[in-house]
Amino acid sequence: MTTNKTDVIIVGAGVAGVAAGITLARAGKKVVIVERGSYAGAKNMFGGAIYDYPTRDLYPEFREQAPIERVNKTHKYMINDDNTSVTLSFNNEKSETSYTVIRAKWDKWCVERAVELGAYYSPMTVVRELIVKDGKVVGIKTDEEEFYADIVILADGANSLLAKQIGLRKNLKDCENAIGVKEVISLPKEVIEERFNLSPEGGCVTEIIGAPMKGITGLGFMYTNKNSVSIGLGVNLDELKKHKLTPNELLNKLKEHPSIAPLIKDGELLEYSAHLIPEGGFNAMPKLYGDGVMVVGDAGMLVNNVHWEGTNLAMMSGMLAAQTAIEALNKNDFSSKMLSLYEKKFKETSFYKDMRTYKDAVKIVHNNAYSFLWFYPQKINEFFEMFTESGYVPRRSLYKRFIKNFIKKRNIKGLIKDAINFARLFFGVLK
């Protein structure tokens, strides 16, 4: 047992696992990172962006050396009706908050840094179960062998079968999970910069509500990479069941929207991908530790479901779990009580506090999907359609007709209900 035992085993070389791995390696601990894909990032997919904080804490040199696609300097919010859209755009050329990356390149780069610092990395290794002795996690069982450690960190992603095995996670509910689908569409660099109005290094993040997901809890997204555009959407599983829709159908419709189609015109599909998003948020977060084990990233359902952030929570949780592991190793105490320190630390972060801030937000929107994600997006579009039209009908008549129609369609009762829910949403966030 001495030859195949290490200090810490990390299951999964995604952003959370490698954050834990590099932190442990830096402290001189013996750490093994196990990954089921043929390379780190091979099984991973996200929108997506990584964030300066806490990336810089983990990889101080990343800005100069890591494979970054673009620095997100423009954020757009699109509210769609079937054929029209209202877009709000914010631009800050000085922004250095988030970056687009391609996971196959980014995750690989990160794990290489961890290996440089002494972490042992084993790709193409599927962990089938945790070895539990007297209620304590002591190792892993792969397709080929058993391997032991003082602590096992579960960074095995949204499905985390291992957290489920030891009872930290229960069966997932479909309303707490979304499916993300994405197409990466190749376009020349100059074309992307022209279409999205970008500086040579700059990037644009677009979030899309409304059509083609009218009344459906879901969000469309577009991210610009160096030589490609990522377009996709995330939609709650229970919505697909209810409306008998497939995510690919919705994505095709999103791409065909008249305000979106020109942006990706003549592009070539490089890759289609899908991933589960554990967006249950604060209310779905499981206990993040047990005897000899900690859970990080998507495996711990650490996702900010309003801002669609995940990689920053993943990195932070991985780093904090590793810091706790270092203390535990120094004290030779791997009890659940000792490792609970990790959850305590995580609960002090801005990320956890944000999860708490939005704990009911998605539920309120989900329960009022018709009004929040259909009626109002449609009315906003109709308002601008009316406002920008010039014709023989005097504007005052148009306004009166719009208001009359607005009240008639939603009726007083509905409007009061919406006002109450909006207030609940608003004060839920601020209280």
């Binding site: 599983l237 069941k241 008998k244 599909l269």
Partner: protein, 94 residues
């Protein structure tokens, strides 16, 4: 941009499928299942109910390993595993 079917899109994903399925539905449960939600939530069109055979056809070689079917299974009886080491998808653009 031209419309692409799921199958056409899947051709862009590098994949080395195993010869045995890592997804095993419980046929008895499928027969009783009213919604057969796996057919809708799957981004890769893996599941297709076949009336003539009275069972769920599982095109596991198309699987993107996301787990949506596992979560959505109304009977919670789908056996869902990761493909063996070296098998399944390899994303290059995730």
């Amino acid at each position: 941009m031209e419309y692409k079917s799921t199958d056409e899109k899947l051709q862009t994903v590098k994949s080395s499928p195993d010869i045995v399925s890592h997804l095993v539905p419980n046929t008895e449960d499928c027969r009783k299942c009213e919604n057969k939600s796996c057919q809708y939530v799957c981004p890769a069109g893996v599941y297709e109910w076949t009336d003539w055979d009275n069972r769920m056809l599982v095109k596991f070689e198309n699987c993107l390993e996301c787990g949506a079917c596992r979560v959505a299974c109304d009977k919670q009886s789908l056996v869902w595993k990761y493909p063996k080491s070296g098998y399944g998808i390899t994303y290059k653009q995730g």
